[in-house]
Amino acid sequence: MKWAGLLGLAAVAFVLAVLLGPAHVPLAELAGSEIIRSLRVPRALLAFLVGGSLAVAGASLQALVRNPLADPFLLGLSGGAGLGAVAAIALHVSGPFALPLAAFAGALGAMALVYRFGLVGGAELDPRVLLLAGVAVGAFASAVTTAVVSLADAAELRNAFLWLWGGLSGASWDTVLVLGVYLPLPLAVLAASARPLDLLALGEEPARYLGADVEQLKRRVYVAASLLTAAAVAVSGVIGFVGLIVPHIGRLLWGHRHRTLLPVAFLGGGSLLSLADTAARVAVAPRELPVGIVTALVGVPLFAFLLRRWTKS
């Protein structure tokens, strides 16, 4: 029943994303329309892949740091990606994929830095240190980003600002294809870690006694979740709250077993982001809102509601 609802939601989200948009396409001409084929369908697919990846990354990181309020951007990746992108804009780096590649490189740089800090004594990955290092690296990157933006001229600044708030307007079949090839590996790594992540909720030592190879597990999950987030941020900027809200709702409705939770998060995250992107395109047409603003406008009240419920029980 719950699954049918979720699959139904995903289907509705996809259909709406294809049907609705600033340009009106009559139903009869749907199949032959160039707008549908080369703009809306790839964009809907991209929204689905990005939203799903962010939600899976969020659910996995929550299990890794044993905190249900963790978010994929908590570990400093958004700061790194933002810095990479803004640096590329400020330095007038051009080329077909300059911005996504720069953001991806920035996110990976932040990931490597946080990971290095998190390796306590050179061997064990400590989730608490990881969190603190993430916050520190993120704050530092944001400071540098703001410095770069404040030195740039006005038009560039607006581009950088809009990019940081996220958007899927760069969607094309090429980006869908790149993600389609890239995403399966980190997603499979996380899916294979689903059961040991259940054990990790008990703490590291009890998880070891139950048969989990904890050190390897932590590294695997951290790197795979970061790679998902880095790819998402590279093609769509920083889209907040999907990675926090969706796993949270999944946990409320489906429970905390990650074998169920991760696929639920993927479908739920994909649906939510594609609905949010449709709203972002239609709400102030012909202009477009950054989709990160839509997810924040929906996500923050929802989050406040969940937080109230959570603190009451």
């Binding site: 299990a63 249900p68 030592e205 009890p206 006694y209 048969g211 989990a212 190879d213």
Partner: protein
């Protein structure tokens, strides 16, 4: 008839990196199927370090630890969890869980990477719950359990691993008399079943003396004494190790320790 040797710790020594002295020095421990061993000792005497060495979590600086004939360090965590079940002293519960799901975690070392739980896994969970008198709790949330019920569920999880060695780290801390006794009785019964060996780290000198086949008394990382409760728990040894005056009485053929009041106030 000699039962199979399941755990053999031989002159194990371990020093934590940078520590001034050995946390464990020359400690022996041999456990056979059907036996119930108690490990006693003051706080910081090396009980938990012994557990970590025995389970291959740290490599002994000298001596050896062997589980079922194979060096403890040579086992993968997963393989070892099929042979040894542990009820750890402390654990977290980051996400709320129902009792049956919690016990099902004990099946992890038996499950394949992608496969779902099989009928035999569900059967093992029900069996473990029944052994711990916890079947009626199966659908409860963990957080609604009393301390005694919670310990029973954690024991059931370790039994769901279908281990040959069961290790309990201070399982009766914060339990009342009835639940303490129930836990000792249950572990004794499991050992008497013949296939399982049990090692319990505990502060209950008197219950250990009445229930365990053998006692290892640790002091500052060394074995102050080991053997049957009657051999180990003499007045001289207990007073020296715990640094407190005691008298030893006999009850049902086993020594029972009674700590004495000090003559002068502290």
């Amino acid at each position: 008839m000699d039962q199979e040797l399941i755990l053999a710790v031989d002159r194990a020594t371990y020093r934590y990196p940078g520590a001034p002295r050995d946390a464990l020095a020359d400690v022996p421990l041999s456990v056979r199927a059907g036996e119930f061993h108690a490990v006693l000792g003051p706080n910081g005497s090396g009980k938990t370090t012994l557990l970590r060495v025995a389970l291959g979590l740290v490599r002994p600086t000298a001596g050896t630890a062997t589980v079922a004939g194979r060096p403890a360090q040579a086992w993968s965590r997963r393989e070892l969890a099929r042979v040894v079940g542990v009820v750890p002293q402390r654990e977290e519960s980051a996400f709320p869980q129902r009792v049956r799901d919690a016990v099902l975690l004990g099946r992890y070392p038996h499950l394949s990477l992608w496969g779902a739980e099989r009928a035999e896994d569900r059967a093992a969970v029900e069996r473990a719950l029944a052994q711990c008198d916890a079947l009626h709790l199966a659908n409860r949330w963990l957080w609604t359990l009393s301390g005694g019920e919670y310990q029973r569920v954690r024991l059931a999880r370790a039994l769901a691993q279908e281990p040959r060695l069961l290790i309990l780290d201070e399982p009766t801390a914060s339990l009342d008399v009835r639940h303490e006794m129930e836990l000792f009785e249950r572990v004794r019964a499991l050992a008497d079943g013949g296939r399982l060996a049990a090692v319990m780290i505990t502060h209950h000198v008197n219950l250990a003396a009445r229930f365990a086949d053998a006692v290892l008394l640790l002091a500052e990382g060394r074995a102050a004494a080991s053997g049957t409760p009657g051999d180990v728990l003499t007045r001289e040894t207990v007073e020296r190790v715990f640094a407190w005056p005691v008298t030893i009485e006999s009850f049902e053929g086993q020594p029972q320790m009674i700590p004495l009041r000090r003559k002068e106030p502290l």
